[in-house]
């Protein structure tokens, strides 16, 4: 412990050189340097390709394997819910995307806590989506801890009657 050999120093120097070279490549030359046209076109597709490469495997895979059954659907459900809420928001003309993201994130732990190993039907998976829509559109507080949408004032009406 505490010893630094020559190989480690060489690795550090090499990494520093690579970092400096890649960051200073654009202004090392005196001539104006622009990307080729094909590279500029390719960079238009790079961000969404990077996001797809990171997000899609996390949604459709679990423990390094594709999801074979619906026994563990939370990643798929969360992805579908966020996508549907975003598309609904965009169709409705809302540009503040966090309106759709906040309910989706809020109900996510509830969905994961409800019967994580049980077989859930597509209808059950659609419940959080419905709750997210309701919460977003009508600002009705909903809770998914029990797997069902509950309205906070419902018990008051039942106790009065």
């Amino acid at each position: 412990m505490g010893e630094t050999d020559a190989w480690t120093l060489f690795t550090i120097v090499l990494m520093a050189g690579v970092t400096v070279l890649t960051r200073c490549l654009f202004f090392l030359s005196d001539k104006p340097w622009t990307l080729p046209h094909w590279a500029q076109r390719g960079l238009q597709y790079a961000p969404i390709a990077a996001l797809g490469a990171v997000v899609i495997p996390e949604v459709v895979m679990t423990q390094g394997a594709l999801i074979q059954t619906w026994q563990e659907p939370p990643p798929v459900c969360r992805g579908c819910r966020c996508g549907l809420v975003f598309l609904a928001q965009r169709r409705a003309g809302h540009h503040r995307h966090w309106h759709g993201c906040v309910p989706g994130l809020a109900v996510g732990p509830g969905l994961g806590a409800v019967k994580p190993r049980s077989r859930r039907s597509p209808v059950a998976c659609a419940e959080p989506i419905k709750a997210a829509f309701i919460q977003t559109r009508y600002r009705v507080p909903c809770r998914l801890a029990t797997g069902h949408i509950s309205y906070p004032h419902a018990h008051l009406n039942s106790t009065r009657s």
Binding site: A49, A50, L51, V54, I56, P57
Partner: protein, 61 residues
């Protein structure tokens, strides 16, 4: 991610990158992401070049 899917070619790029990342999942050091990006961008460039062969540009992305 969906906010960037503003054209059919970008949707194709997203789908291809996701499929390639799943196929190349076994690669070490998260190289499946690099491979997926390279495959998706290359395919999008090829399709874009075939869609606009004579204009010399005019990307729809």
């Amino acid at each position: 991610m969906l906010s960037l899917a503003t054209s059919p070619l970008r949707i194709v790029s997203m789908t291809v990158s996701g499929m390639a990342a799943v196929v190349a999942w076994a690669l070490p050091l998260k190289l499946n992401i690099v491979v997926a990006i390279a495959v998706a961008v290359t395919l999008a460039l090829i399709i874009d070049a075939q869609r606009t062969p004579h204009t010399g540009g005019g990307s729809h992305g």
